[in-house]
Symmetry: D2
Subunit: 374 residues, 4 copies
């Protein structure tokens, strides 16, 4: 049967002396197979990944897996514990404002070791390349950590490096997030734009194979960079590694029932990857919609006021249809309108809207997919 081990990694000593820690759960099957790393709650208000993980753990307790899983349910204790009012202000570091999911390291960028590695492994088998490259990544990460900590460890950056190290040895990285009031959707790199269908999301945003600081990018960039180095040597290399950001609906809530459905997406995917043996958790979707990053558009509030969000996550909206209205009773009795309407500029699918009705002029109120295709 599977061997399940857990450990706690201390990450941040607080001013009062207590130290926050990360729980790491490792599940190893008796047989060889691919390895998958799953983390959740990097943003502190995004809890639903924990409901998904609960069901994955439940499954792994009673079913043999091949290969291994590493699961980190609460990747960012400091963010998870930061409350203001009743809500969790977990999107950015309350100290610095840095988005918690934008400070990962692009440690292989232009690194000379990659060129050397490519040269030395030009004729190696894919399996051998994968395995020795992972070792290189772990080494480079250790050096990066040392380099970056000579004047003390920057809390934010070091934390991200710890997570990168924990994930570096894996074939698959799944980073579980949520948006505000949102549909479920997936971020996939361009090189995974077909393969991503295996994860069975209705909505898929295809991002460039470049680095903007997030975990999925931080995980795939070393492989993109390796492919580039091989290309320079005229070798076509297919990246064996996959990483995705899974957006599991709305923030600030969990639902175990929804989490079961969410886990089925992942279990079906793990089956396709050969990590689990059972299948049939989910019917394949009839339609999956994709769009490019630049077609994942934001609407901004044309005025300050109280917004009612008519267009709901997942809905198809036609150009000119109403997205929301704003109510501004301080305009009563003046020439300005008490109610203003915000209309769709183009046909779109609603993905996310703001979590609060009270909105400052210019705040982001909607995120939508335009120019989507199947």
């Amino acid at each position: 049967m599977n061997k399940i081990t857990t450990k706690n990694i201390p990450v941040s000593q607080m001013p009062n002396g207590d130290t926050l820690s990360i729980k790491v759960i490792d599940i190893k099957g008796d047989n060889q197979g691919p390895s998958c790393y799953i983390q959740a709650s990097m943003h502190g208000a995004e809890h639903q990944g924990n409901a998904l993980i609960y069901h994955i753990l439940d499954y792994a307790e009673s079913h043999d897996i091949q290969g291994s899983l590493r699961i980190i349910p609460q990747a960012n204790p400091l963010a998870i514990n930061t409350k203001t009012g009743n809500y969790t202000q977990g999107r950015f570091n309350p100290n610095t404002g840095h988005n918690w999911n934008r400070l990962y390291s692009n440690y292989t960028d232009n690194h000379p070791s990659l060129r050397t590695f490519a040269k030395n492994n030009i004729n190696a088998s894919d399996e051998s390349i994968k395995n020795s490259y992972k070792k290189l990544l772990l080494e480079l990460l250790e050096k990066e950590k040392e380099l970056k900590s000579s004047y003390g460890k920057n809390q934010n950056k070091h934390h991200n490096l710890i997570l990168q190290s924990l994930a570096a040895n894996f074939d698959i990285v799944l980073d579980l997030h949520t948006a505000g009031k949102a549909a479920r959707y997936l971020y996939a790199a361009e090189y995974l734009s077909s393969r991503c269908e295996e994860l069975n999301f209705v909505h898929n945003i295809i991002i460039k194979n470049i680095f903007n600081g997030a975990m999925d990018e931080a995980a795939f960039m070393p492989w993109v960079n390796l492919k580039t180095e091989f290309k320079k040597l005229d070798k076509d290399y297919e990246i064996p590694f996959e990483s995705y950001t899974l957006e599991l609906g709305s923030e600030e809530m969990i639902s175990l029932e929804e989490g079961k459905k969410d886990s089925h997406k992942v279990l079906e995917y793990l089956y396709k990857k050969g990590i689990i043996r059972e299948s049939g958790f989910q019917e394949p979707l009839k339609k999956q919609y994709k769009c490019q990053t630049e077609d994942f558009k934001s609407y901004y509030a044309p005025n300050g006021g109280l917004y009612e969000y008519y267009a709901k996550p997942g809905e198809f909206i036609k150009k000119g249809e109403s997205l929301a209205i704003s109510l501004q009773l301080s305009n009563y009795g003046s020439k300005r309108q008490v109610i203003e309407e915000v209309k769709a500029k183009k046909d779109c699918i609603i993905i996310n809207h703001c979590t609060s009705s009270s909105v400052i002029e210019g705040s982001e109120i909607y995120q939508v997919m335009e120019n989507y295709y199947t």
Copy 2:
């Protein structure tokens, strides 16, 4: 037809020099009648009152009223504008922590003028008492404002005194609030425990005739105190004044459609009071539930974790049934349970639950009515 006038009252100059202001909308009918004061958004995240007011204004534009309405849609600009992350931290002053609805003044408490007034008016008609007492209240409020501002005006207390002055001349005061994730419910003073049924709320919390700092109490206490003074002179005086706190569901959202239903409660009430002529907005409810303040109970989180709130606002829950579970994956692989259940200690009606799943041990997670009666 009705005469509708509006004015802006400046209330707080901000550090950058701009001044926030309150909009006051006055509606006077051609004929005499009672007067009703309605304010909303004293807590910054509690928006639904604005949706109710929108429909009241709509009604008043096309229907004659008798008497007058004064409407303040956004009673607390500083609270409304205070955002953290996407949410509105509008429950307490971000500077001091003071709950915005607990710093009203109990300016008639033990005030010698009341005794004198009672003596002088012992034989006056009820109408005469009401009218001359309102004049006294306005005078006392002006004195209170002067007294309290000799070293500068405390932002919080002065703001509340402004609102008290704006409301002092009215026969009815309705303060529109919401709770977190909540049913609609009403706070009514003991002396209004029968009359409150006119407002047609399913759930009604009966509070003592005493002062805890809130607007409804601040509005009725002068009348309770007058009754006490008359009592000392052996006169039984029935308080002609009514004030209520209306809780209009959940915070951080507005719904014009729900607001229409909410406005029907108030319009039907205004009909019963003689301020409007039409009725039939709402069927009387078959059942209205009441409980005493001390039976409006809070549950606190037995541990830190991610809570799924099973029991929903408005539900009747039996002793021993599940309210919520907490998920704590850091317990995985330890002796502690990953899932803990919170059960009802007694039969209850769910009124409100916490707006976030991520909860620190000891946070308030539920508010319920116990020992309720019809």
Copy 3:
């Protein structure tokens, strides 16, 4: 030699599963003597108490004490760890807005056990009364904790009850705080208005013998209430217990050097109480100033703007002299003044001013002692 033991008391499990804890340091001398409880950092931004405690611990490691000391350097981990921007928002619960030092329990208020105790101990010796009353207090606190936790433990109130229990068995309670930008000063109860001179503070605010929710009051109220019960039985009882709030200057900073001077105040006091044997840490002050709570006045900002605080903590200011100016460049070119002056209404000693120059109209900018006497 002294026996020093330490323990950690877990107090709040955070959403991520880690639990914050309180460190308790107990120091017992070989010989009998009075007992003193010292806590610091109940408000999270008030650190200087830790510097004082550092030197007390240093002293206790090399000098015999008589009786015992209990020291809790960081009484409120949740408050200490709550950062916004670079600052510590530790004055009130970020969840509820409740001032952390206003939710202690007045558990002996009107409690029938006190009457019984007074009757039963009317002829007992002072020593016997003190000892058996402390036992009663511990029992009542345990009952209070049980009673208050039947629906889960309210984080805030339960935390305060834990601290009250830890302090209940002691003869002296010192609660170490700081203000914003402040002089050092002391809060002492009326019944201690002479005895408080032993603590050697230049500035002393004499508070009523009543309960407003703070630790010093929570600690002395059971003794005030006992005195009242004895009084009803015609027994004059001198309260053997003392509790004080020590304000150690400005928040958000520590200074070990200043902390050494601060510790000398406490060591000299402990000498006078018979807990330590050495004296001469400090010369007695030539002048100590006192005023009543109602003469501890606040000034509020007459307008929003940038304030320069001319009058510094500890200064004597005459009526009409300048306290501060506000700079408001948005008034430039208008009829309003760019610079406004705030003048003293009466002669006063400056105790505290606001920590930021940017101020909303009506914010508290100064706290001063008026009608002070020596």
Copy 4:
């Protein structure tokens, strides 16, 4: 005499309906001359620029200038007005976490108009180039604003574009900031590394001629890009434009007296630029220290605790000397040290330290200049 005009530009409608605005003060001399734009308080807690501006305005009221000054004392009302506790959380957008001084637009980056402009103006006089290029910049900014607002105006980005437009027509841009607890220092671009001495700062950080989102960079990048385009056409072009970030000491305070000294730096500089006629405000400094950005180093807290910052802004510290100690009394009685020392890794000048003693492990505690030169 000078002509002084003022206007208010509305920038953000708040949820309650009030609109925050920016005050623009324009001062035009009778005679031609260069133009200088000065803004302050882009970060909300950085007030001292207003004290400097106060004295510049005072000067301009009684002394003829040549050319013009535009002054925006409070560039970011939303940031200035955002208070938490007593402090101003004005470093980043409380809604999104974005640093207010990192979202300016690099609107000329790779823009084809620049190539065309360079070709068309290859033989034009420097004066003509400067004037017609400024016109081009204003046009490009208008297009950028239009382009970026098709789905509504992103509050943050649009605000920055407004400021860029207000500054685009000027020869000099001075952006007034402060750091935490800091010395006065200057950020200057590489191409200004000699000229910057005219501003008479002791401490000067030389940044690359590249864009990282800040105002000074946003202002000089169009000129750097123009120079690059001319270079491609083999024309050596000396940039006539200058922009700097002036760091005026510590945040959250103003001092008019210090502001007078600060204004003397700027007045002397304006004299050197030919905008004012008087000189002699300041003696030239004997020594000015410079270092490259990569030598402007940060130290991070090695552990959580209470820090006392021994090394003060402006001090020269030798390698191995003490910067700070941390006090952690929760270590008392354990193997871990109660006091830890943070030592300098290299010789350095202290520029800035953290504003709070209570620090989470990994927080930035010091910023220092290394490898400085004169």
